[in-house]
Amino acid sequence: MMELFEMMLTTSLWAAVIRIATPLIFATLGELICERAGVLNLGIEGIMTIGAMAGWIWVYQGGDLWGGIIFAAIVGMIFGFLHSILVVYLGLSQHVSGIGITLLASSISYYAYTLLIPFSTTPPKIVPFSAFEVPILSSIPILGQALFHQSALTYLSYVLVIVTFFVLYKMPIGLTIRMAGENPVANEAQGINVLLIRTGAVMVGSAMMAIGGAFLTMSAFDAFYFGMINGRGWICIALVIFASWRPGKAFLGAILFALFEALQVRAQLIGADVIPYQIFSMMPYFLSILAMMLVARKAAYPKALLVPFRQGDRI
């Protein structure tokens, strides 16, 4: 027990927590924006995969890192747009369409990677984002180094939490987005194009998911592996529910989740002889299910989530 307590006080643990949390923050915020506008985006897993692939390929082919991030975001947006056409404009099942988007985006990622990168046993690498220290803030004991000695993308994720909160709660457009997810008829009564608002939200959300994926290949690691998203997208869907669709809680949820993940990885090293590592690796998935069980009963789903809207419909 003392060991665990001491471990909680080390900078390296918290630095790892932030590293693990960053892609989750991006993707959870992205999914949150989609769902706030009334659209479940199960394409998340595939969009993260293609974001990871697209950003990495961009840099591998000689582009610069930020160009890669923008490219990943654009690719994510394209798939978000496709999802919107299917579920917003045509009103198809959001579940099946989302799974279809995931299958499509991940198979295109693997196809493109196999096509563009000659086969080798060790995957080729790029020079990823490097960490830099934020002056003053990084000198806070323990947490300073963990929070403010990270890659630029991590700082971007902090900023996005604040921006998402500000836009959703403090700006008229945010109210419109939330209304599209709660009561789209009221939106239409004001002369607002619900379909357009939902499409926009899904596209912005998908871009954020793709950046979350790109963080993995361009900052956390330096190569693209098959199956590297490994259910992170699905975990983010659980996190959105756990966070009751609030950006601040989503941030805290991602950190909490990443803390367990980081502890799990350390426990794997200590307990390897007694307990098979797979037991520890299962923990994130169990934890997501547990998190959903905790909040499920009182979860206040956006009322129009999963409900297609047809212009001119009356209740």
Partner: protein, 350 residues
């Protein structure tokens, strides 16, 4: 743009829909082949030759279709009741584990008893694992999509643990695979010199059985009613929880049988590469069949030929075999759009 309900839908349109969808997929897929710098005609010719060009190719396609019929049925039954079971992949592995548990020498009975026993064990295992998301949904209102998806990863890790630990076959020269199914448990091949095995007969029987259950029994009626309108079903005294439970029993059981069929039929032993995503492809199979159990047979064979053909194609032409996944994903999305167009009409302008 407005969307109006069609008052009547021509039957030929519904029948033609899956074919049109696959056509659309092949047209869009051609762009990906052109990207790889190859001729789509040459590629598709190789694909068709590889999947239907010889007796061996056809038996390979049918062997690949076998698990897809099971997982396609699993998805079709569940989606009929709007229960989103995306966990067929995990349930398949549970069935495979059950078959390994029962079939590797603990009991040795004559084949006519042994084989049904393996299928029952697999079906029970598939059901039991799906009960977790079902109970969480009916008793705690936890969304089943995420739980079934997450359990897939848990189950795969569990299989991995068994294969690297207690179940590792010492005779397998270090490969993580379990012991072989004993001779009496192995599904015999039904075409000489091929890998097509008894599993496909079981799959066909299950399709007809599921069709009959959905069409003629009270259970089937309740499942369909719940899928159409939950409120109305409750009003008529149908217990939603009971029908969801019923669906889960069928759906999980069918997916579990897919695992049995692969372990006892195709591979002979349990490995981590048992299923290249049969559970997920099952969703595409079910949607292309428009959730009809008999249609599942046709669409499973169709998609299986695409996979087998793409494997053959990638050996002769320099196109990654992931093209098959792309084609299947696009067919899934286009059949969704198509199904919607048969029910509604899009009116452009005001």
């Amino acid at each position: 743009m407005r969307i109006n309900t069609r008052t009547n839908t021509p039957v030929w349109l519904i029948a033609l829909l899956p074919i049109l969808s696959i056509g659309v997929a092949f047209i869009i897929g051609a762009c990906f082949i052109l990207w790889a710098g190859e001729s789509p005609f040459k590629a598709y010719a190789a694909l068709i030759k590889g999947s239907l060009g010889s007796t061996f190719a056809i038996t390979e396609s049918l062997a690949r279709a076998t698990p897809l019929i099971f997982t396609g049925l699993a998805a079709a039954v569940a989606f009929r009741a709007k229960f989103w079971n995306i966990g067929a992949e995990g349930q398949l592995y549970c069935g495979a584990m059950a078959a390994t548990l029962v079939g590797t020498g603990v009991i040795d009975l004559p084949a006519p008893i042994m084989i049904p026993m393996l299928f029952i064990a697999g079906a029970v295992a598939g059901c039991l694992i799906l009960l977790v998301p079902v109970v969480l949904k009916t008793h705690m209102k936890v969304d089943e999509v995420v739980t079934t998806l997450l359990l897939n990863f848990v189950i795969l890790l569990f299989v991995n643990m068994l294969l690297e630990g207690p179940w590792k076959d010492p005779m397998a020269m270090g490969w993580p695979q379990a012991a072989r199914i004993i001779d009496n448990g192995v599904l015999p091949t039904i075409v000489a010199k091929s890998r097509l095995h008894l599993g496909i007969i079981v799959a066909l029987i299950m399709s007809v059985l599921m069709w009959a259950i959905l069409r003629f029994t009270v259970w089937g009626y309740e499942i369909r009613a719940v899928g159409h309108n939950q409120q109305a079903s409750t009003f008529y005294g149908i217990s939603i929880n009971k029908s969801v439970l019923m669906v889960a029993l069928f759906s999980g059981g069918l997916a579990g049988m897919a695992g049995v069929s692969e372990v006892a039929g195709l591979k002979g032993y349990l490995t981590l590469t048992l299923s290249p995503g049969f559970g997920y492809t099952g969703i595409a199979v079910a949607m292309l069949a428009q959730l009809h159990p008999i249609g599942v047979i046709i669409s499973a064979i169709f998609l299986a030929s695409i996979y087998v053909g793409a494997d053959a194609m990638s050996r002769t032409i320099d196109i990654p075999n992931y093209i098959a996944d792309i084609l299947v994903a696009i067919s899934l999305l286009s059949v969704l759009v198509g199904a919607m167009l048969t029910r509604y009409r899009i009116v452009w302008g005001k």
